[in-house]
């Protein structure tokens, strides 16, 4: 019995979830449309005065990215929980953390990556300078996976609970604040010309990404075992 | 140090007594809630015990 290698298993789970996401393409776009809509609401609320919008842009985009990924996290485990496939995954002879990491990566590719790709377009809406847009996109690229991973812990903890979606955000948002701070801080630093501060913000984001990559799958697997009991 | 001056608190009475007032009010509420929870739980356990017999 040739057990799949860790890498093959990871790819299997990621491909499985992406295949499922593609079969229900609407879900992919709801997250994206939600993100664009939330971002576009702000100029309507705040007024179109360019100087103010440029200053607010990183905060608005990052908070919208945070909310958009919270929105789709509820389905990370619940779809598999309902039809019993999650049980089978927990019985797989490989470590559950790898499977959970795979699901987190797939969730990021469906709900995090599109936000990163579309961020420059929205950056124009806020008249961001090109370097600022670059740093914003890079920050989102480093930060959104962390949102999916920390959110994965929340999704596992609130599995099968009524009011899961709101409860999930309530648990996870405080934990995502550092990511929000470093992500927006980098853009703020570049537009204020403080290049070293920008680099250190991005470095901290990258550090949080590595930290989450190592820890969150295991914690999320423990949370799943607790929830499935 | 008569009482009027004490409550005036150098013009900052509102803030000082606003802070301490709410603090001890909140303490009082918590104590009341905890005692209420205790009597409620005791009553439930008693009802359960009678039902059990």
């Amino acid at each position: 019995m040739n057990t799949l290698s860790v890498w093959q298993l990871l790819v299997l789970v990621v491909r499985r979830d992406l295949l499922l996401a593609m079969r229900r393409r609407a879900d992919v776009f709801t997250t994206l449309i939600f993100f664009v809509m939330v971002v576009s609401l702000f100029p309507l609320g705040v007024g179109s005065e360019m100087e103010l919008l440029r200053k607010m842009a990183p905060g608005v985009l990052w908070v919208a990215a945070l909310l958009a990924s919270m929105l789709s996290l509820g389905r990370l485990f619940s779809a598999d929980y309902v039809d019993g496939t999650l049980e089978q995954m927990m019985l797989a002879p490989q470590s559950l953390s790898i499977l959970v990491l795979g699901k987190m990566i797939a969730h990021w590719m469906v709900s995090g990556l599109p936000l990163v790709l579309i961020a420059p377009v929205l950056g124009i809406q806020f008249d961001l300078s090109v370097p600022a847009q670059g740093v914003l996109v890079l920050g989102l690229l480093l930060g959104t996976p962390v949102l999916s991973m920390i959110g994965g812990i929340g999704a596992a903890l609130t599995l099968g609970l009524r009011g899961g979606g709101v409860l999930l955000s309530l648990l996870v948002l405080p934990l995502c604040i550092p990511v929000l701070i470093f992500g927006t801080g980098a853009v703020y630093a570049i537009s204020a010309g403080l290049n070293e501060a920008m680099v250190s913000n991005l470095a901290l984001l990258a550090a949080m990404l590595m930290f989450s990559l190592v820890l969150t799958p295991w914690v999320s697997a423990q949370a799943l075992r607790i929830s499935m009991e | 140090m008569n009482w009027a001056e004490f409550f005036y608190m150098g013009g900052r009475g509102v803030y000082v007594w606003g802070a301490y007032g709410v603090t001890f009010l909140v303490f009082a509420i918590e104590i009341a809630l905890v005692r209420h929870k205790r009597s409620l739980t005791l009553r439930q356990v008693r009802e359960l015990r009678e039902a059990g017999e």
Partner: protein, 245 residues
């Protein structure tokens, strides 16, 4: 003689022990509050810079300290309950959470009331106050997760995991907020005066101890109710004097 600590880890024996201890914490707490505030208001001099408003620190600083340490203690008990499967430590964790949240709220409230006369604004996005606000959110997260799960065992274990993850994040949150604060506002605002008069330090220390005693008394009372609730089907609860009465 070696005290057999595990004897007290059984809910039934702990229930009795806690019952005896509560007065020993509650009464001294009240007494120390009175002494601490007496020193704070009648002996400590008026501050040269801040006038009388600074006297709020005698409750604000202890509350902030309490809110932080109670979260860590809660996370510690929760972790104990998670690892060693001891129900009593999980009960202690959920007994501490509301009191911790309460102190976080008091810290924010008194911080705001102190900020108004000091810096002219009810809310100042200062690193310490902002982290306190996030700590309050973490408390709400713990309490609401625990409340939304019906099965007590799963509720304890899920909330415990969240508390442990939260406690790992508390320092990260604090430093990122500090970093964010310096980035946007230059320097953080110094809270306590440059040199504190000895009476001020005494008063704050006494009120701090008073807050600790208060927190322990309340937590013990709450844990006794939780024990009663969780062990309502057991025989020892049915035989309790107060249940029979």
């Amino acid at each position: 003689m070696a005290i057999n600590w595990f004897k007290y880890s059984a809910p039934s024996t702990f229930y009795g022990l806690a019952g005896k201890l509560i007065p020993w914490f509650a009464l001294p707490a009240a007494v120390l509050f009175v002494i601490g505030l007496y020193i704070g208001f009648f002996i400590a001099p008026t501050d040269a810079v801040q006038g009388e408003a600074y006297r709020i620190i005698f409750i604000h600083v202890p509350a902030s300290i309490l809110s932080m340490f109670l979260y860590l203690i809660m996370a510690g008990y929760a972790a104990l309950g998670l690892i060693f499967n001891t129900r009593l430590s999980s009960m202690m964790a959920s007994a501490i959470a509301p009191t911790g949240a309460l102190f976080a709220f008091i810290s924010l409230w008194t911080g705001a009331l102190w900020g108004k006369p000091m810096w002219g604004a009810w809310w100042v996005w200062d690193a310490r106050l902002t982290s306190e606000l996030i700590l309050l959110f973490l408390y709400f997260g713990f309490i609401s997760l625990h409340a939304s799960i019906d099965d007590p065992r799963r509720a304890d274990r899920a909330a415990a995991l969240l508390a442990v993850v939260g406690s790992v994040n508390v320092p990260i949150i604090y430093f990122s907020v500090k970093w964010w604060n310096t980035l946007h506002q230059g320097s953080t605002i110094k809270f306590t005066g440059t040199s504190m008069h000895v009476a001020m330090q005494q008063a704050m220390f006494i009120t701090l101890v008073a807050c600790w005693l208060y927190a322990i008394a309340v937590a013990l009372t709450r844990v006794r109710s939780i024990i009663l609730e969780r062990e309502r089907h057991t025989k020892w609860v049915a035989d309790l004097a107060e249940v029979k009465a």
